[in-house]
C-alpha cells in the first residue's frame, strides 16, 4: 500500500464525513425554511378576528372559529374512545397475553395496521360509521374513524411503557397476595403512566393533523356554526387549511398559512408537554 493510496482513502473518508454532515444539517435547515415561509406568509392575517370568525367567501372576513371548535370536539371524543381501549389492549398483550399464537397474530396485525394509509381508514369510516351505523357526517363518525386510526399508535407506545416496568414490582405485589388485576391497577399502570401519556399526546397530535380520513367521511368546509353535540356536522383545522390552500387566490393561500401557524402552534405546545413529562420522569427515576 503506497502512501498516496492511504492519503486518498483518508480524503474519501473526510469527504464522506462532510457529505453526511451537510445532508443532515440541510434537513434541519429545511425545517427552518418551512417555518419561516409559513410564518412570513400568514403572519399578517393572524388576529383576533381571524380566530373568532366563521369561513367566508371574502378572505378578509374569513376565520377559523368553527374549525377550532370542530377540532376540539373531534379530539376530545377521539381521546375518550381510543385511550381506554388502546391502554387496555396494551395491558392485555403485555400482562395477560403470554406468547401464544393469538397474541402473536394480534401483534403482527397491529404493526401492519400502523402502516395502512389514512385514507383507507377514511373509507372504512365512510362505509361503517357514516352509512352502516347511520351516524351521518357527524363529529361522532369522525372521531370513531380517527380512533381506529390512532389506536395502533397508542397501543404500541403503551406496550413499550408497560414493558419497561421492572418485573420485581410485579413479583413483590404478587407475593403480597394481589391478584393480576390488582397488580396491574395499583402498580404497573401508575409506573407506566408517564410513558402512556407521552404516547397519547403523540397520537393526539397525529389525529389533529390528519386530513384525508375526514375528507372521506365528509367533514364539510363551509360550516358557519359551532357543533353543539356529537351528531352535528363539523369542520376541522386541517380541512379548513386544505380548502383555503386549494383555492387559486393569493389571499386564501395566506389565510391557509395563518391557519397552519395556529395548527403548528397547537402541535408544538403538545410536543412540549410530552417532552416535559418525559423529562420529569427521567428526573424522578434518577
Amino acid at each position: 500500500m503506497t502512501p498516496g493510496n492511504a492519503l486518498r482513502r483518508h480524503a474519501i473518508a473526510k469527504a464522506f464525513h462532510f457529505l453526511c454532515a451537510t445532508v443532515t444539517w440541510a434537513g434541519v435547515a429545511l425545517l427552518g425554511v418551512l417555518l419561516f415561509h409559513v410564518s412570513y406568509s400568514g403572519f399578517m392575517w393572524l388576529d383576533g378576528q381571524f380566530l373568532s370568525s366563521f369561513p367566508s367567501r371574502f378572505p378578509e372576513k374569513a376565520g377559523l372559529n368553527s374549525a377550532l371548535w370542530g377540532t376540539l370536539w373531534l379530539i376530545t371524543l377521539t381521546v375518550a374512545f381510543s385511550v381506554p381501549i388502546g391502554v387496555a389492549a396494551a395491558i392485555y398483550l403485555e400482562e395477560y397475553g403470554g406468547k401464544g399464537k393469538l397474541s402473536r397474530l394480534i401483534e403482527v396485525n397491529i404493526a401492519n395496521l400502523a402502516g395502512v394509509p389514512s385514507i383507507v381508514y377514511g373509507i372504512l369510516g365512510l362505509v361503517v360509521f357514516v352509512r352502516f351505523f347511520g351516524f351521518g357526517r357527524s363529529v361522532l363518525a369522525g372521531s370513531l374513524t380517527m380512533s381506529l386510526l390512532i389506536l395502533p399508535v397508542i397501543i404500541i407506545a403503551s406496550r413499550e411503557s408497560v414493558r419497561a416496568v421492572p418485573g420485581s414490582i410485579r413479583q413483590a405485589a404478587f407475593a403480597l397476595g394481589a391478584t393480576r388485576w390488582q397488580v396491574v391497577r395499583s402498580h404497573v399502570l401508575p409506573s407506566a403512566l408517564p410513558g402512556i401519556l407521552t404516547g397519547v399526546i403523540l397520537a393526539m397530535s397525529r389525529a389533529i393533523g390528519e386530513t384525508a380520513p375526514l375528507i372521506m367521511i365528509g367533514a364539510l368546509t363551509y360550516i358557519a356554526f359551532v357543533p353543539n353535540g356529537p351528531m352535528d356536522a363539523f369542520t376541522a383545522l386541517p380541512i379548513q387549511i386544505f380548502n383555503w390552500a386549494s383555492r387559486p387566490q393569493q389571499e386564501f393561500h395566506q389565510l391557509a398559512a395563518a391557519g397552519i401557524i395556529v395548527l403548528l402552534a397547537v402541535l408544538l405546545l403538545m410536543n412540549a408537554v410530552a417532552v416535559f413529562i418525559r423529562y420529569r420522569t427521567e428526573e424522578g427515576n434518577k
Partner: protein, 309 residues
C-alpha cells in the same frame, strides 16, 4: 363487586377466592380491546372487498388492471387504472431518490460521526419534521417548492409531480433516518473497533462493515418509507394535480391513486354509481400494495435480524 375495593388490604387477604370472577371479567374485557385491532383489519378487508366486488360486476378486472386510460368521470368512460398507478410510482420514485440516500446518510452521521450534543439537537428536529401534518407539506409544495422549480424550469406546470415528490421525500425522511439509526446502533461496537484496528477509514468502516451488518434493518426501513409514500394523500392532492396520465416527466401534472379518491369524495358523484364505486376499487388496490410492502418489511425485520451476542 361486593368485596370492597382493592385498596382495602384486609379484604385482599380474606376474600381472594370470591375475587375470581371479577378477574375473569376484566381479563375478557381487556382481551376484547386487544382483539378489536384484528376486527378493524377484517372490516377493512370486508368493506373493500364487497364494495370493489360491485364495481367488478360492471368492469372486468383485466380492464381495470391493464387499461391505460382512466376517465371514469367523463364520457366515454374508461376504467384502466394504470395512469393512476403510474402517477403514484412517479411520486414514489422521486421521493425515494431523495429520501432514501439522505435518510441513510443522516443516520450514518448521527450514529458514526456526530457528537452527543449534535445528536440531541438533530433528533428532536427530525421528530418535529415527522409530526408536521401532511396538509402543511402540501401547502409548502404549492407555495414554495413549485415557484422555486418554475424559476428554474419555466415550462413547469402549476401542478406537477416534482414538487409533490420533493415534499413527500421530506415527509418520509425522518422515518428513514430514525429506523436506519436504530438498526445501525444495533451493530456492536466491537465490529467497528475490529475494522478500525485493521486500518480501515471511517468511510470503509461504514460502507463495508456497519451498513452491511445492518442491511436488513436498512432495507426494511426503505420498504416502510416507500409504502408510506404510496399512501400519502394530502400533499399529492394539493401539489401534483388531477390529470391521470402515463408520463415520466416530473414537471407535468399527474394524479395519484390517493388524490383520485379525494377528488371523487369532494365532488358530487352520486353514491352507488359505477363512477363512485371506482374509489373502492382504487382503495382496494392501494391497500393491497401497502399491506404487502408492510408485511414484507416486518418479516425482513424479524427473520433476518442479525443477532450479535
Amino acid at each position: 363487586m361486593t368485596n370492597g375495593s382493592p385498596e382495602n388490604t384486609a379484604s385482599l387477604l380474606v376474600g381472594k377466592v370470591r375475587f375470581h370472577w371479577k378477574e375473569e371479567v376484566i381479563r375478557i374485557a381487556l382481551f376484547l380491546c386487544a382483539i378489536l385491532s384484528v376486527a378493524t383489519t377484517l372490516s377493512i378487508v370486508v368493506v373493500l372487498a364487497t364494495e370493489a366486488f360491485t364495481f367488478f360486476e360492471n368492469v372486468s378486472l383485466g380492464e381495470f388492471l391493464l387499461g391505460g386510460r382512466w376517465t371514469p368521470l367523463l364520457v366515454p368512460r374508461s376504467f384502466g387504472v394504470l395512469p393512476l398507478v403510474c402517477g403514484t410510482l412517479l411520486i414514489v420514485a422521486g421521493a425515494a431518490l431523495i429520501a432514501l440516500p439522505v435518510g441513510l446518510a443522516t443516520a450514518v452521521y448521527l450514529g458514526e460521526y456526530a457528537p452527543d450534543r449534535v445528536r440531541s439537537i438533530v433528533k428532536p428536529v427530525l421528530e418535529v419534521l415527522a409530526g408536521i401534518p401532511t396538509v402543511v407539506y402540501g401547502y409548502f409544495a404549492l407555495t414554495f417548492v413549485t415557484p422555486l422549480i418554475r424559476s428554474i424550469f419555466p415550462s413547469t406546470q402549476i401542478f406537477n409531480a416534482a414538487s409533490a415528490s420533493i415534499v413527500v421525500s421530506i415527509m418520509v425522511l425522518p422515518m428513514v433516518a430514525s429506523l436506519c439509526d436504530d438498526s445501525l446502533r444495533a451493530v456492536p461496537l466491537s465490529l467497528r473497533q475490529g475494522a478500525y484496528a485493521l486500518g480501515a477509514t471511517s468511510f470503509e468502516v461504514t460502507t463495508r462493515v456497519v451498513v452491511p451488518a445492518s442491511l436488513s434493518g436498512v432495507v426494511a426501513s426503505f420498504v416502510l418509507a416507500l409504502s408510506r409514500a404510496i399512501g400519502e394523500t394530502m400533499a399529492v392532492t394539493l401539489a401534483a394535480g388531477a390529470t391521470p396520465r402515463m408520463t415520466i416527466n416530473p414537471l407535468e401534472s399527474i394524479q395519484t391513486m390517493t388524490a383520485y379518491i379525494v377528488q371523487v369524495s369532494l365532488g358530487d358523484t352520486p353514491a352507488g354509481s359505477v363512477e363512485y364505486q371506482t374509489i373502492f376499487a382504487v382503495a382496494a388496490l392501494l391497500f393491497t400494495i401497502t399491506l404487502m410492502m408492510n408485511v414484507i418489511a416486518h418479516r425482513v425485520l424479524r427473520r433476518f435480524r442479525e443477532v450479535y451476542e
